[in-house]
Subunit: 771 residues, 2 copies
Amino acid sequence: MAEQSLFKLKDGWNLEIPEIDENQIVNYGSNLLCGNGYLAYRGTLEEWGKDQYKACIVSDTYDMADGKWRELSNAPDGLYSRISIDGQDFAHDPGSLDLKTELNFNYRYGIFERQTQSNREERNYQILSARFASYDNLHLIANQYTVSGTEKAEVLKFKIGIDGDVWDLNGTHLKNFSSDYDSEKNILYIKAETVEEEIEVVTALSFKINSQLQNIAVEEKEKAIFLIIEVNNPDQKEIRIERNLIIYSSNDRKDPLKQALEDAENCLEFSYEELLKKHKAKWDQRWERADIKLKGNLMDQLAVRFNLYHNIIATPTHSEYLPIGARGLSCQAYQGAAFWDQEIFNLPMFMYTDLESAKNILKYRYHTLDGAREKAADLGYDGAFYAWISGKSGKELCPSFFFKDVISGRKIRNHFNDWQIHVSPDISYSIWKYYLAADDIDFISKYGAEILFEIARFIHSRVHFNSYKDQYELIRLLGPDEYHENVDNNAFSNYQSQFALKIALYFYFKLQNEKPQELKKIVDKIDLKENEITAWQEIKEKIYLPKPDSESKLIEQFDGYFDLEDTTAEVLEDRLIDKSEYWGWPNGVAVFTQVIKQADVIQLFTLHDLFSEDVIAANYDYYEKRTQHGSSLSPSQYAIVAARLGRSEEAYRYFKKSAYIDLKSSNKAVSGGTFIGGVHTAAAGGIWQVLINGFAGMKLKKEGLFFKPNLTEEWEELEWKLIYKQAKLKLKLTQSEFEVNSDKANAKEIEFKVFNKKYNIEPGEKIKISL
Amino acid sequence: MAEQSLFKLKDGWNLEIPEIDENQIVNYGSNLLCGNGYLAYRGTLEEWGKDQYKACIVSDTYDMADGKWRELSNAPDGLYSRISIDGQDFAHDPGSLDLKTELNFNYRYGIFERQTQSNREERNYQILSARFASYDNLHLIANQYTVSGTEKAEVLKFKIGIDGDVWDLNGTHLKNFSSDYDSEKNILYIKAETVEEEIEVVTALSFKINSQLQNIAVEEKEKAIFLIIEVNNPDQKEIRIERNLIIYSSNDRKDPLKQALEDAENCLEFSYEELLKKHKAKWDQRWERADIKLKGNLMDQLAVRFNLYHNIIATPTHSEYLPIGARGLSCQAYQGAAFWDQEIFNLPMFMYTDLESAKNILKYRYHTLDGAREKAADLGYDGAFYAWISGKSGKELCPSFFFKDVISGRKIRNHFNDWQIHVSPDISYSIWKYYLAADDIDFISKYGAEILFEIARFIHSRVHFNSYKDQYELIRLLGPDEYHENVDNNAFSNYQSQFALKIALYFYFKLQNEKPQELKKIVDKIDLKENEITAWQEIKEKIYLPKPDSESKLIEQFDGYFDLEDTTAEVLEDRLIDKSEYWGWPNGVAVFTQVIKQADVIQLFTLHDLFSEDVIAANYDYYEKRTQHGSSLSPSQYAIVAARLGRSEEAYRYFKKSAYIDLKSSNKAVSGGTFIGGVHTAAAGGIWQVLINGFAGMKLKKEGLFFKPNLTEEWEELEWKLIYKQAKLKLKLTQSEFEVNSDKANAKEIEFKVFNKKYNIEPGEKIKISL
């Protein structure tokens, strides 16, 4: 799809959609999302409803409607509005031809604006509306809603209020609605409960209107409360409503209604502009560290910020108890829950720009240890086997049957929930990286070590020893490439598992030496035995790690992969009986072939520095041809490896593939009537890695911080910031120079290497390195 | 299907089909099969052809037509005949209304007879034909073909000869036809080669005719040679042709043509009756030991002999290099190859009635060790992993894709060839039983030990040690119940594997003590290391064996079986989208349920004496309800266990289910256009076990021979013979008495136990035990 049909570039922060394309409504909803990590409101018009995928998804509201999938709830819509002017509707409903609507979105502050005007001369009305999900009060969505050209109108009727009849993916989540309107304070609310967990969800709305109120009628329905506001002979150029939508659940406060009404009332003390100012100040602080400046291609600059923005608002940085959803809060798809994406894709940006948030992300895994322990025990293992799809409790949310054989209509038993074990060692890996980046041994002793030990335990219970080959093996896996289930010794899973054991052992002995009391506490708590440590050591030594072939340099993705039919995704397309068939397990077109869904062996290269460049190049060349990129996780990883290999063009091609997945709506949002859209937050997080780990060639190892820059020729300059070992650095990369600045407030000298040459930078110092 | 519609009982050896039912043609072909272990000729009329599934399958002619499945070849049909009388065809072609054909079969001598007569009064002709596959000369099929009522006919034309255009299941197997007719000797032949292996197959035919030959014309086609014999004004009541069909392949003789012509010529020196006499003498010898006499139900008597006969003629007792086909030589289905059926179902009868044949069956596994070694190596294992489908070489014949998803049309990757490992320990088990029955340590040192050691090696390389649980496990199995692939710790496979290790160790140490030279030879030959013995011991000690639950007494069929949906086959029937769907892997209706195809845990009880009666009863009650009996192997095993439990009615019901599978044609012969019929030789072999191991309650253990009779009330008496420790015994069981006779030629006293009471019987002695 051509870019111009979707959006117009205004500058490096703003995009404009000059005219709504009705085929893109579902994508606008996600791309133009106002969010703050607590809630998010989709980029839809106020007069729209559930048919236009309108939603306000609220974190920490997991609920399962009768036998369906557990997912986050969609709060009642408090920004609902329709206007009629002199008896005629003035609403941009899909299909209406006489209105033209322009949309604008600002990614610095997450401000959604719509501007609608009549195409007819005789009715020169306009709607101008702007909203943001406050970064200052996470429970607030502020909206300024203006109708102009009204000076000659006789009767304006506004229907505003809260509509609880919302779009749900898997069953209705709210019940027991109650509502009220306080006409003195101009505050109304709806309170409801989720169907399963009976979480109270309150949507309160306070508003101001810059006109004489002639008449307000209240319309109460089972799931809605509306006000019909009639303004007669307004004699005003414009009528403006300023609204404060407040959302609380009983998971936030004991009495969410009280708190919501309080907030709603408080907000009335401020104008929209004042609320916006406080909001912007918080975002300015965030961007101070998170922004990446890119010169040379304005559209790429916008795309980068689009991805940074979405990675930020997807993340419940305010809490250490909540996961990052695979689609953030952009919709209910993927159950609002965390996958391995959280650690491997979303986390790195935070790890280097916002340590508190990074810590919260990892603490979430600490708080969900019991869920992971329960899953392990249920499947006959020990320790912590983290859920493939992890909500608040950490219990496995992934259903056993979720794909369908579209030809027979029979459900398919996919084994994402029991065979895809790498999520646990992936968490260990991320704890290690956080430790290296933040130099934070306290985190390890308080949270990390217990996670690491329980994961090591899980691996211990999950491996099998092949006494004949004198090696430990991992049998019956599903690696990152999800088209090949039931495989043995998936290279990625085996290497990650060994790494997880190494780290567990490393910290076990480190704490033994340095913090024996803290270690003892953990050991006592989880009843860790000395012989377990011995077992971990032995498994670490003897676990089978597929090595590069001495001639071809290839690493086999799993036992027997190279014996599979060698073909390409294009050939497999032709074998489909139905275009919407699932390609994988148990009998899809890819299963018996070498065609893979996504980076797998390649994913290993982005995480570890274990192989020589010729091995990486040979594997890149081999697997790249056989990768379908059926997952949005894939292109960013290929981009990183290509960039590190100095394959600049290729890297840029994969950067674009990843950066524009949502902006260009290149992935389907609706398939066979099922919504699978929303923001691809892993791709969003991946973009940070493509720039920093890929084009700047950054690697963080135990030995230190390494750079091997290889900026694509498409760009002139890349500028970003890092927090490394608690020190603030600013980095700038051009085609010819790499500049590192150390903040003068930093406490100590920082060491790093560029092309393996060592540099030490003092606080306040600037180092320029010619490339 | 009602019995009377299929056959009429004449006596305990003969059955009669008073009139051909054309819907049963495919079943007549198998049930009325003339065979001798070298070849078999289907029960079809001489005038029929491939559309009536006519075939003469010849052992040792494995061949694969272009990319299809390897299977035995069907020799050119040398009994082909058509007659015309005064210009009118006299042939019982399907659909013809004016002829009536009666069929008779004698199971003592395997004699097929047909008798056809015109329904019209004016043409009172008859065809009377009888044939047998000689048990004296295995290459001979003799036929006496008589046309009577011909005294008033003017011209009789016989078209006889050899037709090479034969019925093949998987592609044409013969090429390069050549033929000739020696008019002096009245011998004609066709020589052809198999397409892949270029095995020469020769069909020669010699004949005599009791009439003046007026004229013989030769008609040669690419794949056929016919003689048109014209007899004018015969003035004879009947014209009789006696034919000798001789078949040799280049796997039998260097010059099969020369040998076939010699045999054909020699046969002309004997009348049909003389050849029959020699044939009968050999069968009399066979039945002398093999027959089982049953009083009280003549039909059951016939059914028992039907099964004994078919087990005998399926078995290439003349050779130690050939397998027993799962459908014997009754057709090409199941590739004419051995499954585990051979040892577990076919072998026991021979083991107690014909030691040489039993030895040949086991030697076949010795001669195919290399095939089993190759399979193990191909799959990354060591030792001998016997083929799931084993032809002459022992290489795996089982295709990776053989079932089809009938809904999508896509092939299914079934894992019979790589996950169904129990065939190897099943062979070990049978060697042990043979040793106990025959007291034949020489067989062990010459053949058995090498097999046992290589199987133990395979198990060693196939198990995985779960260091967390301190146990060895068998991962990713397909047990006897073929609807559940990819399971772990299948009770049957685990117990059998442990048993195989025990036996290997037992004989290792026994030979070390008693025949150290012989042991050394084997150890040197297969390079057996001391540490392998240690490993076998450890695995034997620590292999996980699913134990009966202390409360429910149930043994779980595999890890997680009890967690599957608990339902019945009837319920699953309703879930079928297409009646011909495969129920098993990967997504069939049974996969995620406890419905099993066949005896699995129950199969364990028929082989071993490990569990108390209450455990066996509890498991019988549980699994019986959940068994579909989708395999013909299943009912006999349930019958044995039911009989041993004293559940006489239930045992008899399962006896009938098994004994009449073919006689009542209760299993489909053709499904979706694919021939899956033929004689169920495992069910045939299973009947011997139902009678002896079931109703007579015989168990052979290291501690001796045990009986616990429990004759069904349906019968008055059962009489059979056994060879046990080289001694000949005759046994008779009635409702009130168990009689054992020891042949006076026996060399020694024999000990046995009845209801755990010990008896010793001297040569020539008779012991009567009141029950």
